[in-house]
């Protein structure tokens, strides 16, 4: 298989397989979670479950003072790399072109040098997050294989993307192929690992908020 054939495979059949696993997995798992349902609450409602649920989906994004003081590094680094991932994935011109080509949706891109700098910050932050996980005894105790795997498959697309953009080491054809492949790896593992928090996070927040809202209290 030549480099060009490899790139074509990655852009074609491999992407198809990854898309099917990704979409199928996510839809199946979300439905499974939603269908678990909740026991009917027979108590009289003292507030709106819907309003409470929706409110909590937003308010939980702001850490409370105590948590922030206890886990400053986790929260700050978490924000940086999540925003960094958003910027590099969704505001990089070639990525928007990809979405445009596939789904016909388009939005303005950030200038490439800004995305480039964001990628560097995100890569450094992810490395710091890993070091923190390894050095903190509690974090290390709580971490299993899948946590490190999730870190790796998140890190690889960023790293390969950065290398492909700057064309370091290998031929550009190989670099872009490896970058796409790393994203496909992420897509395949996504529904079956903690990466599902991208979706389940909001479901969980809604449930918490809805329970509190029904009781007429703040969550």
């Amino acid at each position: 298989m030549t480099e060009t054939e490899f790139l074509l495979w990655v852009r074609g059949p491999a992407l198809q397989i990854a898309t099917i696993v990704f979409v199928l997995g996510i839809v199946a798992r979300i439905l499974q979670m939603v269908m678990l349902g909740r026991k009917a609450n027979l108590a009289e409602a003292r507030g709106s479950a819907l309003a409470g649920g929706l409110r909590t989906m937003v308010t939980r994004s702001v850490p409370d003072k105590g948590t922030f003081q206890r886990s400053t590094f986790t929260i700050v680094s978490g924000y940086i790399f999540h925003i960094g991932l958003f910027v590099t994935i969704f505001l990089f011109a070639p990525h928007i072109l990809l979405v445009d080509e596939v789904f016909g949706l388009s939005w303005p891109a950030l200038p490439t040098p800004v995305v480039d700098a964001t990628a560097v910050v995100t890569i450094i932050t992810l490395l710091a997050v890993l070091i923190h996980r390894l050095k903190d005894p509690v974090m290390r105790f709580l971490s299993g294989f899948s946590d490190y795997l999730v870190w790796l498959v998140t890190f690889l697309p960023l790293l390969t993307g950065y290398i492909a953009f700057h064309r370091i080491g290998l031929s550009p054809t190989m670099l872009i192929a490896l970058h796409i492949l790393s994203v496909e790896l992420l897509m395949v593992l996504f529904p079956f690992t903690k990466l599902m928090h991208t979706f389940s996070l909001f479901i969980a927040r809604y449930y918490n908020g809805a329970i509190a809202g029904y009781k007429g209290v703040h969550s």
Binding site: T2, T4, P13, V27, L31, M35, L36, A93, P113
Partner: protein
């Protein structure tokens, strides 16, 4: 033109001034990234070089490479240098034909054994030898015989360098490149469809000056010309960095000269000197004329997907796959959910109430 005439004599006879000659040497030196101190060395070497014997073999090709190298509107210094090598065999350009032509090739190979430069354009069929023959000799046999006595081989054009269009899927003739068949000789690949004329003269000048082949990349291409991608040297690069793209060939972006990435430009994955050396005596290059780069100097460029879709875009129908996946995912999710509910119901049904009597039994 006598064989003993030096290149300098030949050039002067053809009316090339000393100034013009040195300008060519300086341009060659700078293009090959050599220090200015090398200019006189190149000049001296070229001046006194005996015209080297060059045997040019054309196999499965379209003659576009020869056209590229010879179709200069006014005689350029590069063109004259090219005229001034002893081109002993080139079945398109030579006056002789038939057995006289083949005799010229055999004589040149014999007289200059171990010293001649073998230039090849076109790919070589390995399936049925009858797909391409010259004077009844199969391309493969002719190449292997000519390669034996060559000092170096220059594969001109993408077909000779990588197989090119004849080797594109489904490759009906079993076409291969020169380097697929010849392994024991120095090979310089000068790919492009066609390659830039000055690149081949530069390679020949390098050989005449130093007696060695220039520094090559992993695809055996001279780094001096193929060291940078089109994208890195493209004058439209600032538009790429700003995210300004032409959407069609006739929109505002196209008229303003914005980046052609979205129209399928292969500049980011293509290594060649088009953006700096340019074509037609430095007039322009494809992107400057508003057309995306096809990536013609890269292996397999013909099979690399549409020329008009961006290199990072999928080649298969992804939305269709996604729609099927949503359907299958919904079915799987509902089935799993139903199984979970059944399990839950089963445990509810199996639940037995604990009474005081049951607890008493523990005692």
């Amino acid at each position: 033109m006598s064989k003993d005439e030096t290149l300098g004599e030949a050039l002067r006879r053809q009316g090339v001034t000393r100034r013009g000659f040195l300008k060519f040497c300086a341009a060659t030196a700078s293009m090959m990234a050599l220090p200015p101190s090398m200019v006189p060395v190149i000049a001296a070497a070229l001046e006194s070089a005996r015209r080297p014997s060059v045997i040019w073999l054309s196999f499965q090709e379209c003659t576009g490479c020869t056209e590229s190298l010879t179709r200069s509107h006014s005689p350029t210094v590069e063109g004259l240098i090219f005229d001034s090598i002893s081109l002993d065999y080139h079945h398109t350009l030579q006056a002789a034909s038939g057995s006289a032509a083949e005799a010229a090739r055999e004589t040149a190979m014999e007289e200059n054994h171990g010293k001649y430069i073998l230039v090849v354009d076109g790919s070589i069929p390995t399936d049925n030898p009858g797909y391409s023959t010259i004077a009844g000799i199969s391309n493969r046999d002719m190449l292997e015989e000519a390669a034996k006595g060559a000092a170096a081989i220059v594969s001109v054009g993408t077909c000779a360098a990588f197989g090119g269009i004849p080797a594109a899927k489904p490759n009906p003739t079993g076409a291969v490149s020169v380097s697929d068949l010849v392994h024991d000789k120095p090979i310089i690949n000068v790919p492009g469809c066609p390659p830039i004329p000055v690149v081949i003269t530069g390679v020949l000048a390098h050989y005449l000056t130093f007696g060695t082949i220039p520094e090559l990349d992993d695809l055996k291409r001279p780094k001096a010309y193929y060291g940078k991608s089109i994208h890195d040297r493209c004058y439209r690069r600032p538009f790429y960095d700003k995210g300004l793209f032409a959407e069609t060939f006739d929109d505002e972006g196209a008229r303003k000269g914005w980046c052609l990435y979205k129209l399928g430009c292969k500049g980011p994955t293509t290594y060649n000197a088009c953006a700096t050396v340019k074509w037609n005596e430095g007039t322009s290059f494809p992107i400057e004329s508003g057309h995306p780069c096809l990536g013609c100097s890269e292996p397999g460029f013909w099979d690399g997907g549409s020329f008009y879709s961006a290199i990072s875009t999928p080649t298969e129908d992804i939305p269709k796959a996604a729609v099927y996946a949503v359907g299958a995912g919904a079915a799987a999710g509902v089935a799993l959910g139903a199984m979970n509910r059944a399990k839950k119901q089963k445990s509810v049904d199996a639940h037995e109430k604990v009474t005081i009597d049951d607890l008493d039994k523990e005692k």
